[in-house]
Symmetry: C2
Subunit: 155 residues, 2 copies
């Protein structure tokens, strides 16, 4: 940490632009989801994963890994979603500690209603201004950083 290598001008600009974009983009997406159907981006993600799963059932720990969330965040979040009737909890026969999270009818309906508008917003605000090359570059970039993050947390 001696002689802290600062960021050069290009990096500085890129970093600031990235931070600003990410803040405003997630704010905009959250607002749209919230306004149109009372869901947060986090709710949406949970629901998407449950919808993809067989019978809309998953063990919390599977959900946790799929979402890359902290365990306690997921647990709290599921409590709130349960309170709102979006998911149900069930006991797990094979593992006495465990549980299942199950999509309710209301949950399925919520995601079905929410999805088109959300996707449309993602398009409007993001993909519509990007070329296919840029999309590809972004995917590469994100993957590289994720690999680095995996390495860093595994250290």
């Amino acid at each position: 940490m001696s002689a802290p290598r600062w960021l050069d001008d290009d990096q500085q600009r890129a970093w600031r632009a990235y931070l600003r974009m990410q803040g405003r983009l997630s704010a905009a997406l959250n607002r749209q989801l919230q306004a149109s159907c009372g869901l947060s981006l986090a709710d949406y993600d949970v629901l998407v994963h449950l919808t993809d799963a067989a019978e809309g059932r998953l063990r919390p720990y599977e959900l946790q890994r799929a979402l890359d969330w902290e365990q306690s965040r997921l647990s709290h979040h599921l409590s709130r979603m349960h309170r709102r009737g979006l998911v149900e909890r069930e006991e797990c026969a094979e593992d006495g500690r465990g549980a299942f999270v199950v999509l309710t009818e209301a949950g399925r309906e919520a995601i079905t209603t929410a999805a088109p508008g959300h996707v449309e917003t993602v398009r409007n605000l993001f993909f519509d201004v990007l070329s296919p090359d840029q999309v590809d570059a972004l995917q590469r970039l994100a993957t590289q950083v994720l690999t680095r993050l995996d390495a860093a947390t595994g250290e």
Copy 2:
């Protein structure tokens, strides 16, 4: 909104990778700052802007625009930073409604202490795995999206 245009596979992959990267990256940066000096990323941003300003003083509304935050978020945040002794509030002579936020000694010291480690982490987790071209591409991409966001909120 009829016939909702879905995202194609490349976009899907890019979007998921982006979301995942941004979630983990900001979590990692927050953790590092929090652990090393008790600041959040948000605190850091506020302090950076104050440090850049003449005499470490700014009107809240200037800070708000510089940060692209909601007004109420900033107000609450400044209250908490005040409670922790990082900033001071002062009355504004020219405008009776207004105020000034002033960096305290503790605030200046906090950012000075935090900066090297934070920059080092940003490098380690992000820029070290990217080529200059990728940095450039990111800056372009973010700028384009920001322009779109500006247009969308102005509508």
